[in-house]
């Protein structure tokens, strides 16, 4: 007799709540009057995320590999990653809630009378909230998925909403749509690689579970394994923007609405790195001699490429995109390290980097002129004089990106490099610090523009942020500062939670 598969809802609750919230959001979008939608949607999103967070706290000491028929592993690291995603999403949703950034009706042709009408009537559509929640749900699933198909589904679940969200900017719509198209086409392309790789891994191991793949090492056809690892990696490396699969990053970061860029930059990294860590630590740990060299090379290329190309960027969002590429390189050192320290360091890094990124993009969203956001760096000149506080916070965040001591970015870098050193990847550490030196240059260049160059007569100004943005930026900045001064608050946690169930 067939028995229904048993699901431990208690352990899956966080994800289910978020997905439930997303579905509720769709219903709200369909049935509720336009005037109330925005408030209700925000409430649902916040509620779902907070509830999920509470559930994560509840299950923080539990673990199971069979929560969903061997497809999902609820373990320490998984919970940490999920919590990171949820926390980041909580802060990000406040940024996203500033509807001003989003197109009122996505289907309206840019510049058409239809678009103008919807803007005038303030009949803003609020599909971004359910899309956002779906993405968050996918991101929560991705790092805890333990078989290839769940991974693939999770990947698509969080990617597809992001493709759409990238195209929803109210201003510069052509660029936004282009970003969406590029993101979608390349993302789908990468997914195809991922799936093809998954097929070969299945062919190699005869099973789609990561532990099965690990167990099969030494008993099966290594060519399949090799093809499988490479193609699967292409899909994963694409998501984290590792060179040479990074090309979408600058274009999409620049074109997407800034709150979405913030969300994407912070949360996608966490989810994708979470999955990579699990796949490589659990699935490919045995075959490390196969992949460690290439991931090392990719990490090195990524650090250097991101750092160098960022030097000449003139657009702040684009520059941070390249910066995120460089950070992906640093984070890959944690993957290569393949030890507990590497995992703990990566967890810490993802957390701090996420909040710093959110805050940075949040601030970028504040710098505006009459035509909307100003991302051209030349027009940021002299911002320090106009609004010292915002400029000062932004400078602090840049220093954190650069990894100057007393910022969280420094502790993160230190942690991840020492893990890499411990695993014997000294070259990676040396290149890492050199790339950091190059990277410091472009962060500091921005600081110079903001503080040390006399302002030209320009209409650029920092708008007074809404309460939501203010809360969001403040929280993110505070977390970044606190983790710089007292990293133990999180490091110990990361240490305790650095454990994958196999």
């Amino acid at each position: 007799m067939l028995t229904a598969p048993s699901l431990s809802y208690s352990l899956l609750a966080p994800m289910l709540i978020v997905f439930g919230g997303a579905v509720a959001g769709v219903l709200v979008e369909a049935f509720l009057a336009k005037t109330h939608r925005a408030a209700v949607q925000l409430t649902i999103s916040l509620g779902a995320l907070l509830l999920a967070l509470q559930q994560l706290w509840r299950i923080r000491d539990l673990s199971s590999t069979t929560a969903a028929v061997n497809s999902v592993a609820i373990d320490k690291a998984g919970i940490f990653l999920q919590a990171t995603v949820v926390l980041l999403a909580l802060v990000a949703v406040l940024l996203i809630a500033d509807q001003d950034n989003f197109v009122a009706q996505a289907s309206a042709v840019p510049g058409s009378s239809e678009e103008i009408n919807t803007l005038q009537q303030k009949s803003q559509q609020t599909e971004i909230f359910p899309l956002f929640l779906f993405a968050v749900g996918g991101m929560m699933l991705f790092p805890v998925a333990t078989d290839l198909i769940t991974l693939f589904v999770a990947l698509e679940v969080f990617s597809l909403p992001l493709y759409l969200l990238a195209g929803l900017s109210r201003r510069k719509r052509l660029l936004s749509q282009e970003a969406a198209l590029k993101y979608f086409l390349l993302g789908a392309y990468a997914s195809a690689f991922f799936l093809f790789g998954a097929a070969f891994l299945y062919g190699y191991a005869g099973t789609i579970s990561l532990s099965g793949i690990s167990a099969a090492f030494g008993t099966a056809n290594e060519v399949f394994l090799l093809i499988g690892i490479v193609f699967l990696s292409v899909g994963l490396l694409f998501k984290i923007s590792a060179v040479p699969f990074h090309s979408w990053t600058p274009d999409v970061y620049q074109g997407a609405p800034t709150p979405i860029t913030a969300f994407m930059a912070a949360c996608t990294k966490v989810a994708a790195f979470g999955a990579i860590l699990r796949i490589f630590y659990v699935g490919f740990a045995q075959s490390q001699t196969l992949w460690q060299p290439i991931i090392t090379v990719i990490a090195i290329l990524t650090m250097i490429f991101g750092s160098i190309v960022a030097i000449t960027q003139r657009d702040i969002k684009r520059m941070l995109a390249y910066s995120s590429i460089a950070h992906a390189g640093f984070l890959l050192s944690g993957v290569v390290a393949l030890n507990k320290d590497g995992l703990a360091a990566s967890l810490f890094y993802l957390f701090t980097y996420g909040f710093t990124t959110l805050a940075a993009f949040g601030i970028i969203g504040l710098v505006k002129d009459s035509a909307g956001e100003v991302t051209d760096l030349n027009r940021w000149i002299g911002l320090g004089k106009k609004s010292p506080l915002v400029a000062g916070v932004f400078a602090f965040l840049l220093l954190s990106f650069a990894g100057i001591p007393l910022t969280s970015g420094f502790i993160a870098k230190f942690a991840i490099f020492s893990a890499a050193y411990k695993s014997g990847n000294i070259a990676l550490v040396v290149v890492g610090v050199l790339a950091s030196a190059i990277a410091a240059f472009f962060y500091i260049r921005v600081i110079i523009m903001i503080f040390f160059t006399d302002p030209v007569n320009d209409s650029v100004s920092v708008i007074i942020p809404s309460v939501k943005s203010r809360i969001s930026i403040t929280i993110a900045t505070l977390i970044s500062i606190i983790l710089g001064l007292a990293p133990s608050l999180l490091l110990n946690g990361a240490d305790n939670f650095a454990n994958f169930l196999r």
Binding site: I308, I311, T312
Partner: protein, 631 residues
């Protein structure tokens, strides 16, 4: 164990504090500063005398006294106390410095009376006295070094006293730099001494001299010689002395004639235990002294500036002393004797020259003098006495001291002795020539100053010191040489009697006769040449030798060609290299990164298809890499 004395520190402290007070209080001390400086100087002389008589009353072995002030530098095995040593050698200097110094202080009150900065001048003079006393009282090379550079500083300040004239400021700088070269030698000597003996005190090194190798001692000796060359204007570091005449004349008398420039002689004499055991270094000392005594003498023949002529003479006379110190144990005493007598007569001459300048509105060109003797009889008389002393006419002071040196030179033995003897003899002849020239051009002949104001005799405040000094130039030699008083006095310090009169080449009488002959020849040539000559203008058509002498034997040109210009071009080149190469490399890192960034940016061409292509290539490359690594 040496006796201690609590007075020594006062010798240095008094003038030092006085100097500091004068500098710190500033203009408010204008009215009484010079008086205080003189009193302080006189007090030091008194202390010196007290110490001298106390010393005399003790037996020869117990005459030296010390005073430890405090631990100065103590690191590891290097222990240097700030401690003073007053022995038979240093008391000579103490008396000379404070005695002549006091006279010159008094002289300066009148000489500098019109100068607005007289107080500052006296502050510098006191500073000099303090530093010079430290130089001769220091009980170790390091303490000596402090005084050594201290007198250099005082000399720098005083040469540049009128530094609003750029040439004077340059002269001061030149003196300091040339001295620094010598100082570098002294510091190297100290380093070598410390590495060799683990000690830098005179007594500590003296005890261990026999243990050291000749090479080590020679190295120390040569470095000490370099130091002496710098301070005493000996070849090849002599060129600063002539320019140093930029300072006020009392300075020239005190520092650049009587005391500071003789510090080199002191240093070598003080280091007798090293030179006695290092023949090569000793030979170098002799050579340097010999060259310089002729060098200075030749320059002296062609100088029209009275102070520069005297400066050249100083250089030459110190050459005698240095030469003497290189002649072994017996030479030290004679060097010191000549040093002391020279201190009297040269100071007297400089002050006399100052007196003439005072009367001649600061004119220094002797061709603008003439017949001054009848307007300034006392000055002329004192100058004349000093003149007789320097050329070595018996029984004036110079006769006793110079004759002894010439005699010792002849007795140095072999061809070396002959060569040295002839050199010193030649020097004596030229000295007689140029000094006679100075006297004739200045005090005799027709009046050439070309204005109606007749020069008047200087005030008593100036004449008294000159008079006292000229008395010294007359009698000092006799007293010092009588019964070899100085030789015996210095015996405990330099042990001169061991080889005394060992191999006599020429008897003293013959040497004296030879010398007198040389002097007379020199005088006659000068008298012949300048008795009736129209000396208004320096002759244009002159021999190459004269031209060379007028240009200081090309010393400045050589220095410029050998050091200054290469140095300047090196600096210029380094400035360029620093910017283009070293900083250029740094900037290149930046521009390479920028270029790379701009090149790499072009990969990001905006086309989805090329992004996709990059991904494909990336994937293929990964497969290729793994394949090649694993297979």
């Amino acid at each position: 164990m040496l006796q201690t004395s609590a007075n020594l520190a006062w010798l240095i402290a008094l003038p030092l504090f006085s100097s500091a007070i004068l500098l710190l209080i500033g203009k408010r001390a204008n009215s009484w500063g010079h008086v205080m400086a003189c009193i302080v100087s006189a007090s030091t002389f008194t202390i010196g005398l007290v110490e001298f008589f106390a010393m005399q009353s003790r037996s020869a072995e117990n005459r030296a006294v010390t005073q430890k002030l405090f631990t100065w530098i103590s690191v590891g095995s290097l222990n240097v106390d700030a401690a003073l040593l007053l022995d038979q050698l240093s008391i000579c200097f103490v008396l000379l410095i404070t005695g002549v110094g006091t006279l010159i202080h008094i002289y300066s009150i009148a000489y500098m009376s019109l100068d607005l900065d007289r107080r500052r001048f006296f502050a510098y003079l006191n500073l000099f006295i303090a530093a010079m006393l430290l130089l001769v009282l220091g009980d170790s090379y390091l303490n000596l070094y402090v005084g050594w550079e201290g007198v250099g500083l005082a000399s720098y300040l005083l040469i540049g006293f009128w530094n609003q004239k750029p040439a004077y400021a340059t002269a001061a700088k030149k003196a300091f730099v040339a001295n620094r070269v010598g100082d570098a030698g002294l510091s190297l000597a100290i380093m070598i001494a410390f590495a060799t003996f683990g000690d830098v005190s005179f007594s500590g090194i003296k005890e261990q001299t026999e243990l050291a190798s000749t090479t080590q001692l020679t190295a120390i000796g040569l470095m000490l010689l370099l130091a002496a060359c710098g301070k005493s204007a000996q070849f090849p570091l002599q060129s600063w002395l002539g320019d140093a005449m930029a300072g006020p004349t009392p300075v020239s008398a005190l520092i650049h004639a009587a005391t500071m420039v003789t510090a080199g002689v002191y240093l070598i004499t003080r280091s007798n235990f090293i030179f006695d055991a290092a023949p090569t270094a000793q030979l170098m000392v002799v050579i340097v002294g010999g060259i310089t005594l002729l060098f200075g003498a030749i320059i002296g023949t062609a100088k029209d500036d009275i102070k520069k002529a005297l400066a050249a003479s100083t250089m030459s006379q110190i050459g005698y002393m240095i030469l003497a110190t290189g002649l072994g144990p017996i030479g030290y005493a004679f060097a010191i004797m000549h040093l002391l007598t020279h201190g009297f007569f040269k100071a007297s001459m400089f002050l006399g020259a100052g007196s003439v300048m005072h009367g001649m509105k600061d004119e220094v060109n002797m061709r603008r003098y003439g017949g001054i003797g009848k307007f300034m009889p006392i000055t002329a008389l004192t100058f004349g006495l000093a003149y007789l002393a320097i050329i070595g006419v018996p029984p004036f002071a110079g006769f006793y001291s110079k004759d002894k040196i010439i005699e010792t030179a002849f007795n140095a033995g072999g061809s070396k002795g002959l060569l040295l003897g002839i050199t010193t003899l030649l020097g004596a002849m030229i000295t007689a020539f140029y000094m006679t020239r100075v006297v004739l051009l200045t005090f005799f002949g027709n009046e050439r100053w070309g204005h109606k104001d007749e020069p008047a005799e200087s005030p008593a405040l100036m004449l008294i010191p000159i008079g006292l000094l000229s008395v010294g130039s007359v009698v000092s030699g006799f007293f010092l040489a009588r019964g070899e008083a100085l030789v015996h006095w210095l015996e405990p310090v330099v042990n001169p009697l061991k080889e005394h009169h060992s191999g006599e080449f020429l008897s003293p009488i013959i040497v004296s006769l030879l010398t007198l002959t040389a002097v007379i020849i020199g005088i006659s040539i000068a008298v012949n040449k300048y008795r009736s000559a129209q000396a208004d203008l320096a002759p244009e058509k002159v021999s190459i030798l004269t031209t060379a002498a007028r240009k200081d034997l090309f010393q400045d040109s050589i220095n410029e060609a050998a050091f200054m210009r290469p140095g300047q071009s090196l600096v210029g080149r380094l400035l360029k290299i620093d910017y283009l190469v070293i900083d250029g490399l740094v900037r290149a890192v930046g521009s390479v990164s920028l270029t790379a960034a701009n090149k790499l940016r072009t990969l990001q061409n905006g086309y989805v298809r090329s992004y996709a292509l990059m991904m494909v290539i990336g994937a293929l490359a990964l497969i290729a890499v793994i394949w090649s690594v694993t297979a």
